[in-house]
């Protein structure tokens, strides 16, 4: 049994604990400590990914209790992908935060690492209730982070955020109760096995459970009409926090992929026949509403938040298209949109700071201190987000559209929706860009300070990664196809987890 699987949760937990134990120590100590920890857990994730992609899923039985009775961690390609993604994103966010954001509130580093821990746990666990626990960890931590920096708007947004998410958690628990009531287990593999042999009555309960969970994950993913918690929260969060939050919606998508894609099987009779259709429609609506909402936004960060929703819609749509190719496209798109959104939120902060009192509002304001740098980055980011070549966004969109061609009955709709959404996004971003960088008002008496290397570096890092995603698009899509293949192969998942579980006693 590979103890390294624990690293992604134990390292953050430990560092958070140390930060708290030395609560009164100097902030610089905390910074270096938590950066180090982040580096470690990120590299651990990469190592795990390496082993995951080179072999079959690995199972880690907590306390040695054999599944389905104990809690297991299951490391497969899907979880590995998410781990690495989070590792990189977290690193960037933390780098940025260490340039001063972390001093604007209490316990930033502890909360940050707990958040990382919760997310990693959610990606690794093979047990439904444990998934819920991890969701709780990351929810509470994210609430703390969301309020980081204080202020009225944050507080208000945070209140809505936490209440809505708690409602979601409540339904999550109900769903789990249904799962247990219908199948007598909370282990994902065992549930998958039970689904194949469920009696009619159990079948109903399990179907209801599946849909309840779908609902919960859709809340996390901020699919319309469950997107209410997102825009205000993202628009008001501190920049590094918003950057980290770029992955929060993906947690919901991950849940759908894991539970409905793998355990239930989207095209299987265990869940209602129209589930894929629901995903398609929901995705389409989310995509359009997101783009539309961005069009009407008054501030850059709000705009970005809506575009995040839109990207979620695209991914949902792709998942709903079923099939390895479409799933691979969805995964690629998820990764891309996470990195891009993270970078954009950091960039938005830089722009906001340099526009004085106008902030990130989309009206004529003073010119930024570093027009070439920020303008260039914004252009790149806009291309990436809007899905124009040669960025990863274009490849992701193209992949989704290409995979849609295998579903002749929906291809027209999918094309119409995706292309329309892309167009609206293009209009929105071009408007925003031309206002921010061309339509200049009088410049203030004292020009704000230029952003230091330390705060530009994370942005560059993330954008660099997206560019890498497009340059290495070929191999990457191959990898994602591998991930998708494994993430839809239920029977072998069951075998691996329930057979070589590493549990003894």
């Amino acid at each position: 049994m590979n103890h390294l699987i624990l690293a992604p949760i134990l390292i953050p937990a430990l560092s958070a604990v140390i930060v708290l134990l030395t609560a009164r120590a100097d902030l610089r100590l905390h910074r270096s400590l938590s950066l180090l920890a982040m580096l470690l857990s990120c590299s651990a994730s990469i190592a795990l990914a390496y082993s995951a992609f080179s072999g079959a899923p690995q199972v880690y039985a907590m306390g040695g209790w054999p599944p389905p009775h104990g809690i297991v961690f299951v490391l497969d390609r899907l979880s590995a992908t998410m781990l690495v993604l989070l590792g990189v994103l977290g690193l960037a966010a933390l780098l940025y935060a260490s340039q001063g954001w972390d001093a604007r509130g209490k316990n930033f580093h502890a909360l940050f690492h707990f958040q990382i821990m919760g997310l990693n746990g959610a990606f690794l666990t093979g047990d439904l209730f444990n998934l819920f626990v991890c969701f709780e960890i990351l929810l509470i931590a994210s609430y703390g982070l969301l309020l980081h920096g204080g202020g009225q708007e944050r507080l208000r947004a945070g209140l809505h955020y936490v209440i809505l998410n708690l409602v979601g958690s409540a339904f999550f628990v109900i769903g789990l109760a249904l799962v247990y009531g219908g199948s007598g287990t909370l282990n994902m593999a065992e549930l998958a096995r039970k689904l194949t042999v469920a009696s009619p009555a159990e079948g109903v309960v399990l179907t209801a459970a599946g849909l309840m969970l779908l609902f919960v994950f859709s809340i996390k993913a901020a699919a319309v009409p469950l997107q209410f918690w997102l825009p205000a929260a993202y628009a008001n969060a501190a920049a590094p926090v918003a950057c980290l939050f770029a992955i929060m919606t993906k947690v919901g998508l991950y849940g759908i992929l894991r539970i409905h894609g793998l355990v239930y099987g989207l095209d299987s009779p265990h869940i209602v026949r129209y589930a894929p259709f629901l995903l398609l429609v929901g995705g389409a609506v989310t995509l359009l509403v997101g783009a539309f909402g961005a069009l009407g936004s008054r501030g850059l960060r709000e705009l970005l938040a809506w575009l995040v929703i839109s990207s979620v819609g695209t991914a949902l749509l792709a998942i709903g298209l079923l099939g390895t190719e479409a799933t691979a496209a969805a995964l690629y798109y998820m990764v891309h949109s996470t990195l891009a959104a993270g970078a954009m939120f950091l960039l938005a902060e830089l722009i906001r700071e340099q526009r004085g009192s106008t902030g990130d509002l989309l009206r004529p304001g003073p010119n930024v201190t570093q027009p070439t740098l920020l303008g260039g980055l914004f252009l790149l980011g806009a291309l990436t987000v809007a899905g124009l070549p040669p960025t990863s966004g274009f490849i992701g969109k193209a992949a989704v559209l290409a995979s849609a061609t295998h579903r002749p009955e929906v291809v027209a709709t999918v094309y119409a929706v995706v292309l329309l959404g892309g167009l609206i996004g293009l209009v929105t971003l071009s408007r925003a860009g031309s206002v921010l960088f061309w339509n200049l008002g009088p410049s203030p008496d004292i020009q704000p300070r230029a952003a230091g290397v330390g705060r530009v570096l994370p942005v560059l890092l993330l954008f660099g990664l997206t560019l890498g995603m497009s340059a290495g698009g070929g191999p990457l899509l191959e990898l994602m196809t591998g991930v998708a293949a494994q993430a839809t192969d239920t029977s072998s998942y069951i075998d691996v987890v329930l057979r070589d579980s590493g549990g003894h006693r």
Binding site: M1, L10, A13, L14, A16, L21, A23, M62, G63, H69, G70, K106, N107, L111, C134, I137, I140, A141, Y143, G144, L147, G150, Q152, L159, I163, G181, G182, P200, A201, G203, V204, A208, M212, L214, F215, S218, I219, L226, F228, A232, V272, G293, L295, G296, L383, P389, I395, A398, V411, A412, Y415, L419, G422, L423, V427, W438, N439, G473, G474, E478
Partner: protein, 934 residues
């Protein structure tokens, strides 16, 4: 490889000009020229082979999964276009060097220009349809940057955005069409596509794919009805206009049509669509050009109409039509670029481009004027210039169409009309600018510009004349090569001649020329008429209205459906879950036989109590303290329910949680007004009622389902069996918590800790005044004597009880969590009795480390297991027999439980203390937001 270089040199070279700026504008421009020359050189090295018909190719897989490869080719068509791009590009760079004003950031300009050049070269050189899309979009983006170069001007911004939007729309459609085409053909390599033409044309998706791709082409080439963005793009500096908007970018659409003509052409759809749109554009453009006052606007519309002419020819699609099209592409590039440049000179030197304030520049610009006039003549299609040749060919082709289009004379007549109109605006351009009366003043006294701006014009015009005189020598070979590459039919033996003898075409152009002059003679009457009275349908105004409308719509929609109110959000949530799950129940509900459960009277009583209490709590929800008291009762009764189900652990937990909840909530109440806002009775009550009902039905049904066939779980049996032997405890609940599912507990403990930290951070962030400094008057009313004494007497006893619950937890009801809550309750009692100040002073535990310590201890027990080569959290226990004391069990679970206890105490007290440090007031702003909901 060289092919790739041709593209890469400009793309990478684009960095040079900005960098060179520090050595002055000359250096910057020089570098741009050098880069262009380098690219030209690389290109030139491949020309001979290409002319021999064995053009270079290059292929490198990029994204095999999508069929997107870096494959390039230099066939005839590519050769022609790349030649134009590079050649005219060079001239434009020369011209721009002197054209740009001192205030303009020249480096950025040339960077954009070179980027565009690279992208455009990519479009024409790529042999893979998807790759074409990639470069295609790049041209849109770079043109956006170039049009918006003078971003401080509103018209520039608007023009840039409009151009990007329209061409972007087209690009997206192109992408869609390309993907469809690639799917139905199974490849994106254009060569293969060409070979698959027949199967493609017969495929069901042919038409949609074709339409989408054509949309891309039409938008790019400003074909009707998308022609309106081009005049708006004239806000760009003139070099840009002459390069992008006459010679190259707008030709990309035409290029695409020509490129795909072998693969998609020849069908009826193709003919009517391409030909029709082309013809319409030809007429509309020419007509609008006759109404324009803006010099560049006039040229823009004329460009539109000439592109329409080319498209129409490609639509006709016979060999000679294609040849004519290609030939006209070449010609138009030459004369239109030169016209734009001379217009630029006029604008630059005279300070205006309004035809109404121009005239008689012949004398002031003795060098530019004749050149411009010649170019205009070429545009008008006067012999012996190149324009004449290709126009003749066009008119000729309209007489022999592959498919029927109305009466035989219709298309030729329209073509003639087009030619007539173009003659009209050509004369309008030439005469109104250079001849005729000279206005009294110009914004700037016009003088000839520097040679840098004159030479390019001269060269281009020379080209026009040369080709006009020696068409066979200069035009034919390349045209033939290009035409062959863009037709699915054999193309050979192409040659042009000024004189074909008396043909219908000659007659038609004769009519056109005469009529055109006449039209120009009439214009001073009809142009004002159109200006004032007849409002022309302006796509541009429509476009702007649409965007603005969409923005407003989006905002109002947000206000309506996304009003940042919790009620709305939660209503949507409940609605969706009810629909989602309810639908499943409707779909899959089996018919079951209800089994009447025997009902216990005492249970009835308890349930009645519980329901009463809950109802009351709801009823009093607006009076916070009251509902809180009632909620206390609810908790109590609930714990009694656990007792009824003989679940002592749950009862204990419920009770202990209850108390701390009440205290914390009371503290929180200090920040709220005693009563919540009175709601207006409204429709949303009905809504909520319906939703609640639906939710109740769904949940009720589900519960019923669970009850009628309770789960048979192997897991619970396993836990019961393993609890003692495997977990070393007889209290299964506790063993589950600390061992079987210890990891969950670990997580939840952390959640508790985080919650405390979060509250702490939040209160800190609220920046409220910390009221408390020293204990205030500990008078009888604040700290009653009795309470104080009893609380202190209770403390040690409570601690003992806590320890008791903790120690026995593993085997009997109790456990770390409950113990922790008891400890905290005991300490809370001290706070209540003696106030924060004194208590804090007596028991000064730093809470952060306490929480951390708890988590650490809990985690450590797990990690130690790893140290022993066991899995994380593997529990360990041993029974020891000590002489007097008897048997004693030691278990790692205890350490784990200790961690739980520490965190509980730390977290709870941390929240408590920090909450109670807040001022008691209803005017604390942050909390008003809790009220804003109703």
């Amino acid at each position: 490889m060289t092919l790739l270089l041709v593209i890469l040199i400009p793309l990478l070279g684009a960095m040079l000009p900005p960098l060179m700026m520090r050595w002055g504008r000359g250096a910057s421009a020089g570098s741009a020229i050098l880069v262009t020359l380098a690219a030209l050189g690389a290109w030139g090295s491949m020309v001979p082979a290409a002319l021999r018909g064995e053009g270079a190719t290059f292929k490198l897989p990029w994204i095999p999964a999508l069929g997107l490869n870096l494959s390039l080719t230099l066939d005839g068509l590519a050769l022609l276009f790349s030649g134009l791009i590079l050649g005219i590009g060079l001239l434009v760079v020369l011209y721009a060097k002197d054209y740009l004003y001192k205030s303009d950031p020249m480096g950025r300009f040339f960077a954009y220009l070179l980027l565009f050049m690279g992208a455009m070269l990519g479009v024409v050189l790529s042999a893979n349809l998807l790759l074409t899309v990639v470069f295609w979009e790049l041209t849109s983006i770079t043109s956006f940057l170039l049009i918006g170069f003078w971003g401080h001007r509103a018209d520039a911004r608007r023009g840039a955005r409009m151009a990007l939007t329209i061409t972007g729309l087209g690009g997206l459609c192109f992408l869609g069409g390309a993907l469809l085409l690639g799917h139905l053909a199974g490849t994106f390599e254009i060569a293969e596509l060409t070979s698959l033409r027949d199967s493609t044309l017969s495929h069901g998706w042919y038409v949609p794919a074709l339409v989408l791709i054509l949309l891309g082409a039409f938008t790019k080439s400003a074909q009707f009805p998308f022609q309106f963005w081009l005049p708006q793009a004239m806000a760009a500096p003139t070099p840009v206009s002459s390069y992008l908007h006459s010679a190259t970018m707008v030709k990309a659409g035409v290029f695409l049509i020509a490129r795909l003509h072998p693969a998609l052409g020849g069908s009826e759809v193709w003919f009517y669509l391409v030909g029709g749109v082309g013809l319409a554009t030809l007429l509309v453009g020419a007509f609008l050009a006759n109404l324009a006052y803006d010099l560049k606007g006039l040229l823009a519309y004329s460009t539109v109409s000439h592109l329409g002419l080319i498209v129409a020819l490609l639509g006709i699609g016979t060999q000679y039509a294609v040849v004519a099209a290609i030939f006209h592409i070449l010609n138009h590039a030459l004369f239109k670029a030169s016209l734009f440049m001379s217009a630029g000179i006029v604008d630059h030197q005279a300070g205006t481009r309004d035809l109404r304030s121009l005239g008689g520049l012949w004398r002031l610009l003795p060098f530019t004027a004749p050149l411009a006039l010649i170019a205009a003549a070429a545009m008008a299609g006067l012999p012996p210039l190149n324009g004449f040749l290709s126009k003749e060919l066009f008119l000729e082709q309209t007489l022999e169409l592959p498919f029927a289009a109305g009466p035989w004379w219709l298309v030729p007549a329209l073509a003639t009309l087009g030619a007539l109109l173009s003659m009209g605006y050509a004369v309008r351009f030439g005469v109104n600018t250079f001849l005729g009366p000279q206005p009294k003043t110009f914004p700037k006294p016009p003088i000839e510009p520097p040679w840098g701006m004159r030479i390019p014009v001269a060269l281009l015009v020379a080209g026009c004349v040369a080709i006009g005189l020696l068409p066979d020598l200069l035009g034919a070979p390349i045209v033939e090569l290009a035409a062959a590459a863009s037709s699915y039919l054999e193309v050979e033996g192409v040659h042009f001649a000024l004189w074909h003898g008396f043909t219908p075409a000659l007659l038609m152009s004769g009519i056109a020329i005469v009529g055109g002059v006449g039209l120009w003679y009439l214009q001073r009457w009809f142009v004002p008429v159109f200006d004032q009275s007849i409002p022309l349908p302006s796509g541009e105004r429509l476009f702007r209205a649409t965007i603005a409308g969409l923005v407003d719509l989006s905002r109002s929609a947000k206000r309506a459906f996304h009003p940042g109110k919790l009620q709305t959000a939660i209503a949507w949530m409940i609605l969706s879950v009810v629909l989602l799950v309810g639908s499943a129940l409707l779909v899959k509900l089996p018919r079951w036989t209800p089994s009447p459960a025997d009902i216990d009277p005492s249970l009835l009583g308890g349930v009645a109590l519980l329901l009463l209490a809950i109802g009351a709590a709801l009823y009093f929800h607006r009076r916070r303290a009251v509902s809180l008291a009632i909620l206390g009762a609810v908790g109590l009764l609930l714990s009694m329910g656990f007792v009824y189900l003989s679940a002592p652990d749950l009862a204990l937990t419920q009770l202990s949680v209850e108390v701390s909840t009440i205290v914390l909530m009371l503290l929180a109440l200090h920040l709220l007004p005693a009563q919540s806002v009175k709601e207006r009775v409204g429709l949303h009550h009905l809504r909520d009622g319906v939703l609640a009902l639906g939710a109740a039905v769904v949940v009720g049904t589900l519960t019923w389902l669970l009850l009628i066939d309770p789960p048979t779980s192997a897991t619970s049996a396993y836990y019961l069996a393993q609890s003692k032997p495997g977990g070393g405890g007889t209290n299964v609940v506790n063993v589950i918590l600390v061992d079987f599912r210890g990891f969950d507990t670990f997580g939840e403990v952390i959640v508790l800790g985080i919650a405390a930290l979060g509250v702490y951070a939040m209160l800190f962030g609220m920046g409220l005044p910390t009221r408390w400094t020293r204990p205030e008057t500990p008078d009888e009313s604040a700290y009653p004597l009795m309470l104080g004494v009893v609380a202190r007497v209770l403390l040690p006893l409570a601690l003992v009880v806590g320890i008791y619950l903790f120690l026995r937890g593993h085997n009997e009801p109790g456990g770390g969590f409950v113990a922790g809550l008891v400890f905290s309750a005991a300490i809370i009692l001290q706070y209540l009795a003696s106030g924060i100040g004194w208590t804090q002073h007596k028991m000064n535990i730093p809470f952060h480390p306490l929480i951390a310590l708890g988590i650490f201890v809990a985690g450590l027990t797990g990690v130690i297991a790893i140290a022993f080569g066991q899995p994380f959290l593997r529990s360990w226990f041993e029974y020891y027999h000590v002489p007097i004391l008897g048997e004693i069990e030691l278990a790692s679970a205890m350490a784990f439980d200790l961690g739980v206890t520490l965190t509980v105490v730390g977290g709870l007290l941390m929240v408590l203390v920090n909450l109670s440090k807040l001022p008691r007031s209803t005017s604390v702003r942050p909390l008003t937001l809790a009220e804003e909901e109703d």
